[in-house]
Symmetry: C2
Subunit: 143 residues, 2 copies
DNA sequence: TTGCGTGCAAAGGTTTTGCATGGCA
DNA sequence: TGCCATGCAAAACCTTTGCACGCAA
């Protein structure tokens, strides 16, 4: 699916970084910084272009968290385009800013419901919920 | 709640525009364009600053749809900070780009579930779902 | 008169793009 | 050798900010 016509050193570097970060999220800048000191820094454009490809390929997911901050990416391993994989969602806490992974069958239920009753095929990989996380709710003395 | 120390003509203009658009979404640019021809154009900064105030006041909701496109706003009338109002969500179609309003009790259910079982207070006013809308699903011949 | 609101223009940050070069096949 | 990928720098985009002026109270 990806037009990986050529295989380059930069691609490999990026992929190994992605595998390291599996289960977490990172920004384009994180990638840049990660390679900055090394003898093989990656150009900005390269990073963005490679990430874009991986997103198109479904191996990477891009989250728009906030227009002020950079986009977050998450490596999802191999292609998940068929959406048969786990439905985990992300929740961004509006208070502490944490990006929380949420695995919940209730969400699977919602996905089914939307599909069957509204004709909508939800993309859990891109959807970000906003709200207040457990921790912040508990610390909520004032506001 | 809003620090409406002064009342200005621009504020009134903006508010009447917002009331016109109730139930739809618009961008800062939409506002700008709406007043562009008129004898009372609004400055960019003014628009953003006023919108920001209204968001802080809870009378306006801001959606981050896509970092490439401008933020979407929606007028919610009076303050909805207590979130006792309707829980309608937005769904952004990844194919046609439409931003769809979705009123569904299943979503209310989800809100309750997240609160009771995960301690998460979802903010429907900011949450945007991504997926493929009904129309696009039906037109889905290729891809 | 006081000081907030306005508006222009410039700055800010992230992401994209043009173009010449480098490297894979 | 052919062509994609790279990387630098510049551009693009939306949004914010500085500053002087205007206007509400």
């Amino acid at each position: 699916m990806i037009k990986a016509t050529y295989k380059t050193r930069q691609q490999d570097l990026l992929l190994s970084f992605l595998k390291e970060t599996a289960g977490t999220h990172f920004t384009a800048e994180d990638v840049k910084k990660h390679f900055e000191g090394s003898e093989n820094p990656l150009g900005n454009a390269t990073i963005y272009r490679q990430l874009e490809k991986l997103v198109a390929d479904g191996r990477l997911v891009k989250y728009v968290i906030d227009e002020k901050s950079a986009a977050c990416f998450e490596y999802t391993g191999e292609s998940v385009k068929d959406d048969s994989q786990t439905h985990h969602f992300h929740i961004k806490c509006e208070k502490c800013g944490a990006l929380i992974h949420l695995d919940c069958e209730e969400l699977d239920h919602l996905v089914s419901h939307l599909k069957e009753n509204h004709g909508i095929t939800l993309n859990p990989l891109r959807t970000v919920f906003y709200g207040i996380c457990d921790k912040c709710s508990k610390n909520e003395t004032s506001n």
